[in-house]
Symmetry: C2
Subunit: 222 residues, 2 copies
DNA sequence: AAATAAAACGAACGGTCGTGCTTTTTCTCA
DNA sequence: TGAGAAAAAGCACGACCGTTCGTTTTATTT
């Protein structure tokens, strides 16, 4: 009998070929736009043949999320852990992230972003996987930020969760401006934003003046 | 004969009722998830009856974008122009924006965000309208920032486009964390981020130290 | 080479989709 | 109130969807 655990068995190798094509389609059209029919056509095989490898569309979507996350971490996170803790590692994570966004996510789309929008209000296992994977990445970023604080590279007043929140926002804005508005300057803006955020947490400085406090309550009027 | 221009004619008032329901559906399921079938069912009328009011699904999507933009500007932009130019007005725009995100976009979804992700790599009139509307809003923000610089509320070194890029990122991160991760602290983080961005452009200060310059080239390795 | 398990296929199912038609109902104005 | 237009319904179409099932082809092992 054929051993199902064999790494080069026919089944596993076509399954990974399917996953490859699925990733390309899901990047462009989102996880909801990924259909088994077009996937089969892109691979030159039958719908049922493709279907049998995953058992359901939902499991296919989850497999795509996992594979996308694996590649993301391989390209962005893992190379950075070779660098010394603290700011160097944190900066490398951002720079690797930026590089990946430039080379693959801006041209082809990003499953994390489209998936987040598609499933943020739809319960179920797909959404859960999205949340898990996202928390994983944000958690690694927060850990790196915490280490940078411990090393004295960032001031103790720096809040790692706030820092990651802002960095994530920079990437989302980059994705938005580069893909929807096709603004080539978005990459440079993302870099400048990162520099600004880091700079604010390196030099000791006065806490942000509450210049807005007076306007905030009055702003709703008129 | 019935005058088609009559504001209270039956046609126009059901058309606006359709638009109302379409907005609710598109907010949750995106413009691609908006189908004429469920729209008809939600309204208790036939598919063809709904369809006849717009002529095509694409025109319905465009009508939804326009209506969403109209409401957004009414809630966020127009109330702010009653305030004095400069930082007060800019801060009011952000605060009104934040208020709207909290009250309607986090609970119900945001057509601008889901639409941007859905149509950022699909050419056609829907995408074009998304771009136009988005540029319109970002343009108003930039104008307000420019006025704040002219008034001396923000330092001349402040780049309005960079500022709006970062503010947009804050809102995208808020939307992401609040909806996907269901993090209630996201709103407070967005406010803090705004304060920090503004604070950095109010007080004259040293240009951001290039602490990352050394790491940037080495970061890809390992 | 025969036996057996895995993989792929092909056809069909019930649904939903957007979109044309034609017909019926409803509104609006003279 | 009756003529006529506007609005809504009803119906059908072709296409695609995810999924199931039985069959056939291909791999793998004895």
């Amino acid at each position: 009998m054929a051993k199902p655990g064999n790494a080069s068995s026919k089944g596993l190798q076509t399954k990974s070929a399917i996953l490859d094509a699925a990733l390309a389609i899901a990047s462009r059209d989102g996880l909801e736009g990924l259909s088994i029919g077009m996937l089969a056509e892109a691979l030159g095989m039958s719908k049922s043949g493709v279907f049998a490898h995953f058992g359901s569309r939902e499991e296919l979507q989850i497999a795509v999320i996992d594979e996308y996350a694996r590649r993301f971490m391989n390209a962005v996170f893992h190379p950075a852990i070779g660098l010394p803790r603290g700011l160097p590692r944190l900066a490398a994570m951002f720079e690797n992230w930026l590089h990946r966004v430039q080379t693959v996510e801006i041209p082809n789309g990003c499953v994390f972003i489209s998936g987040a929008v598609e499933f943020d209000d739809r319960d179920g296992p797909v959404r859960e996987r999205m949340v898990t994977v996202n928390r994983g990445w944000q958690g690694e970023m927060q850990k790196a930020a915490r280490q940078a604080i411990d090393c004295g590279h960032l001031v103790p007043a720096c809040d790692p969760e706030q820092l990651v929140f802002e960095l994530y926002g920079v990437m989302l804005a980059l994705h938005h401006d580069a893909r929807l508005l096709r603004d080539a300057r978005a990459v440079e803006r993302a870099r400048r934003a990162f520099d600004r955020i880091i700079a604010q947490h390196t030099a000791a400085e006065a806490p942000p003046a509450r210049t807005r406090a007076a306007h905030r309550t009055a702003s709703v009027a008129a």
